[in-house]
């Protein structure tokens, strides 16, 4: 897949490069190459933006910063210090990547920076750089910098051919990089960050590192292309690079093309550049930005997923529309030139692709096979639990753990030991601190004081993905699947980044085994949106065990289920426990806890109230009082 894809890019590059080298022999007017040059520049820019903002969902308004740093590096080094142009390109790329890493290091530190705040932060970056450039006369000083014309090889006829080739190199490299990223672990990590970042981190994805890598790639490509941009415009000013035009263009292009696939930005860039060119050529220069703004506003409402996904569904219709409209206009030949006909054809194809289709929901329902029958003895819970006979060594040790939220003491002085092979039921009234304890164990929260060790390793302060690698895995009360992936790939993700990572192909195979444990194999190809709550909760469990945990934390994994579904889920928990995984289950239904747990821990108002075997604990007067109130206990005795 990867080798063939990259071979394809080499072929495309060779063919497109040949156009420039033998342009005069082919009789191709230079105008087409200039237009293609523009398209290639924007393909590189949109692809650069998309690696971070499309793949990982961190929308940036700061693309101009990377273009600007690239352009100014080339302009200043070449124009003021006489450095050879070819040398300035890699330097520009590296500078821009360093800036990107700086932005990332600031922005990705905080979890609350997702979404709008990240976008606004990136909006500020070009403003800062513009101010710096204006003030510093070594860089710009407010006058702009002239970029010297670079020497180009004599086998090229014109400077424009040279620019085209340079843009081609960068664009093909950028798209190939986006392709490669999408088809490796890197791309899967970014997709999981886009869908549910906290979950991804909890399953072992080093989200911070992948986000930094993504923003570095964005900076690298943006800077290299920006360096070429300097050569192209010949005179770099603050306004030409640090404005909002560049972010506007890349966002419109990527949203139009589709943000989750490497093809998206390419499609979007080509369509937008063609529209812009024809508008300018027909004397509608003043309408260019209006059309662009309208495309963005309408698309976000009508087709937020963009062209690519829809084109894959209607490839032939689009091709027919393109050929038919272009062909008819060419035959009639009463208006415009070849490029006008072609652009009209492209617009027709875009319209066909974006045309609202029929609802697809019924198809999904039909495709859904019946659930595999559950073996009766399993459902009845007759599978012997090997582990409860002899608890092993201490696996989880909490010492005097406390967690305060402002003045609220969610947990205070909780000490708890969990031994390998136990199935601990964690119960308590609402607000007693159960979920807080789970969050502390999984690393989603940090304790205010106290220590937590898992398998002898202190986990306080470790990033959640490191804790996952130590051997803690969890489910969420409200299931948070990766919505863009199939059920199988949701589980495969967890295997790819879990304690014993495997490449995608192997992970998909292994995922089937995990789906077997929870009886979800028949839904392996479904998307999470197509399955019900019970099945989503089972998927949570499958994903959690796929990381090969030592301890599995089930946070109200049975909430909202009907009695039959609860029995099925109980059987699944038993089966997971039988594979040797220690389980902590937070549950409100005491019937379930009594049935399952080898030991029950009761929390009340943030403190440990009781701890022991289920029967003793459930008869403890303190526990009854906490659950039913003082009065009920008094009447009972």
């Amino acid at each position: 897949m990867m080798a063939r894809g990259l071979g394809g890019f080499a072929l495309v590059f060779a063919v497109l490069a040949a156009l420039a080298v033998w342009r005069e022999d082919l009789g191709l007017p230079i105008f087409y190459l200039v237009l293609a040059s523009t398209a290639l520049f924007w393909i590189a820019q949109a692809t650069s933006w998309n690696v971070l903002s499309g793949y990982s969902g961190y929308f940036s308004f700061g693309q101009g910063a990377f273009v600007g740093v690239g352009a100014y590096t080339t302009a200043v080094l070449g124009g003021r210090h006489g450095v050879d142009f070819y040398l300035t390109v890699p330097v520009a790329a590296v500078f821009s990547a360093l800036l990107a890493l700086l932005v990332g290091a600031l922005a990705f530190r905080l979890r609350s920076f997702r979404g709008e705040i990240f976008a606004l932060l990136t909006l500020a970056v070009p403003f800062i750089l513009a101010a710096l450039a204006r003030v510093n006369s070594e860089i710009d000083g407010g006058q702009g910098v002239i970029v010297p014309v670079a020497e180009y090889p004599d086998w090229l006829a014109q400077f424009q051919d040279f620019l085209y080739l340079l843009n081609l190199v960068v664009a093909v490299a950028a798209v190939a990089a986006a392709f490669a990223i999408q088809h490796t672990r890197f791309g899967w990590a970014l997709a999981s960050i886009r869908d549910a970042e906290d979950v991804a981190e909890g399953l072992g994805v080093a989200t911070f590192r992948y986000k930094m890598l993504a923003i570095a790639v964005t900076g690298l490509i943006g800077g290299a292309a920006g360096s070429l941009f300097a050569l192209q415009i010949g005179f770099v000013t603050v306004e030409s690079v640090f404005g909002l035009t560049i972010p506007l263009f890349v966002i419109v292009m990527s949203v139009l093309g589709g943000r989750t696939h490497w093809v998206g930005p390419v499609l979007g860039a080509v369509v937008i550049v063609l529209i812009q060119d024809r508008l300018s050529a027909s004397g509608f220069e003043g309408w260019n930005l209006i059309v662009l703004g309208a495309i963005l506003a309408v698309l976000v409402v009508v087709a937020p997923d963009g062209l690519q996904a829809r084109l894959w569904r209607r490839p032939w219709q689009a091709a027919v529309a393109l050929v038919a409209v272009t062909g008819v206009l060419a035959v009639v030949d009463s208006w415009g030139g070849p490029l006008d006909w072609f652009v009209a054809g492209v617009l027709a194809a875009v319209a066909v692709v974006l045309w609202p289709g029929r609802a697809r929901a019924p198809v999904a329902a039909e495709r859904r096979p019946a659930a595999a029958p559950v073996a009766p003895e399993e459902a009845a819970g007759a599978v012997p639990v090997a582990a409860d006979a002899e608890p092993g060594e201490v696996l989880v040790e909490c010492r005097d753990v406390a967690k305060y939220f402002g003045g609220v003491r969610a947990l205070d002085g909780v000490s708890l030991r969990i031994r390998a092979g136990e199935l601990v039921g964690l119960v308590g009234p609402n607000g007693s601190g159960k979920t807080t304890l789970v969050n502390l164990l999984s690393g989603a929260l940090r304790p205010t004081s106290g220590s937590i060790a898992v398998a002898g390793r202190d986990i306080v302060g470790l990033a959640p993905h490191r804790i996952a690698h130590v051997g803690v895995s969890r489910t969420h009360q409200i299931p948070k699947p990766f919505e863009s992936m199939t059920v199988r790939d949701n589980v495969a993700m967890a295997i790819m980044f879990g304690r014993s990572p495997r490449p995608l192909a192997g992970a998909r195979e292994e995922a089937e085994a995990c789906l077997d444990v929870v009886h979800l194999r028949h839904l392996a190809d479904a998307k999470p949106a197509e399955i019900n709550l019970h099945e989503r909760q089972l998927l949570e469990m499958a994903r959690a065990i796929a990381t090969k945990p030592k301890v599995l934390l089930l946070d109200e994994a049975l909430a909202g289920l009907n009695p039959a579904e609860i029995d099925a889920a109980v059987a699944v928990v038993r089966r997971i426990h039988a594979t040797g995984i220690t389980i902590v289950i937070v549950e409100h239904l005491l019937r379930v806890v009594n049935q399952l747990a080898t030991r029950v821990v009761v929390l009340n108002q943030g403190a440990l109230l009781a701890d022991g075997d289920p029967r003793t604990v459930m008869n403890d007067p303190d526990v009854i009082r906490a659950y039913l109130g003082r009065h009920a206990h008094a009447r009972g005795t």
Partner: protein, 291 residues
């Protein structure tokens, strides 16, 4: 002495940023609509003030009699469309970015891309100033500050004391519960968005009073105004005035002591620091974020 004068003038200028930011902050906080088109409305407000004063000879301040109702309708209509189409949160940022670009380009097509400024004969406030002791305050910034205080205090009181204000706050806090208590969020949302747009008309007038405008002026506002919104705490009008004054003072002091070109640098660095340590606004402690 000059620094103090600069700081005081800056504080007054901050009032204008507070007017610009108030509507933005409220629609973001209450309706979850991040409306970049708000800057487009301010721009149109400024141009309408210019046009009405220059062609019709209206007193510049009185132009708001025309522009405020007009903008109210535009804002309410826009919110109606956003609500019907389910545009909020991130989608609203993108859609309104598109709208902003459309407005800016349209303004450029109508009034040309050149600077436009109300001349002294139509704008009696341009050259006026008030001296207090040894300090001199230009009339436009003084007027802007008065408007800022009036608008912010009025908005704050309405939100605190009236039924509609309480309903809006309840809605911002928990939509499902608020709807269950019979709060008609559609109508309230349209009223709020309308008022926010009306404040944009005032902001536009205030800007045109003391400055020349070009179609690309909104780019100069976006950074500072978002800084004010975020520093003030999203959805908190009181914070907006404080943050506006703070931002105005800081940027004026930097301009006076170092260089005008450096002021965005210091300003945005300050914003980034604030975002890192006080992501929910200056008045809200970091540990008590609403979302």
């Amino acid at each position: 002495m000059t620094t103090l004068q600069a700081a005081l003038s800056g504080a007054l200028v901050g009032g204008m940023f507070a007017v610009m930011a108030a509507g933005l902050s409220l629609t973001w906080g209450m309706l979850r609509v991040i409306n970049l088109a708000h800057f487009g409305l301010i721009l149109v407000g400024a141009y309408l003030t210019f046009e009405l004063a220059t062609s019709w000879g209206l007193d510049p301040i009185l132009t708001i009699v025309v522009t405020v109702p007009l903008m109210f309708l535009v804002g309410a209509g826009l919110q109606w469309a956003f609500d019907r189409l389910g545009v909020e949160g991130f989608a609203s940022l993108l859609v309104s970015f598109g709208l902003l670009i459309i407005v800016m380009q349209t303004v450029s097509n109508v009034w040309s891309a050149d600077f436009q400024r109300m001349e002294g004969d139509v704008n009696p406030y341009a050259t006026g100033s008030v001296s207090i002791g040894r300090f001199v305050f230009p009339a436009p910034t003084l007027i802007a500050f008065v408007f800022a205080v009036v608008i912010v205090v009025a908005a704050d009181q309405v939100l605190r004391r009236t039924f509609a204000g309480r309903a809006l706050r309840a809605f911002a806090e928990d939509r499902a519960v608020a709807s269950a208590f019979g709060i008609d969020h559609r109508r309230l949302g349209m009223v709020l968005a309308g008022l926010s747009a009306a404040s944009a008309a005032v902001a536009g007038m205030l800007f045109a009073l003391g400055n020349a405008v070009t179609p690309s002026t909104p780019f100069e506002w976006i950074g500072i105004v978002f800084a004010v919104v975020i520093l003030g705490g999203i959805g908190q009008v009181g914070g907006v005035l404080l943050a506006g004054v703070l931002v105005g003072t800081l940027s004026a002091v930097v301009s006076a002591t170092w260089s005008p070109a450096l002021s965005p640098l210091v300003l945005f660095s300050a914003i980034i620091l604030a975002l890192l340590f006080r992501p929910h606004g200056l008045l809200t402690p970091a540990s008590r974020g609403a979302r």
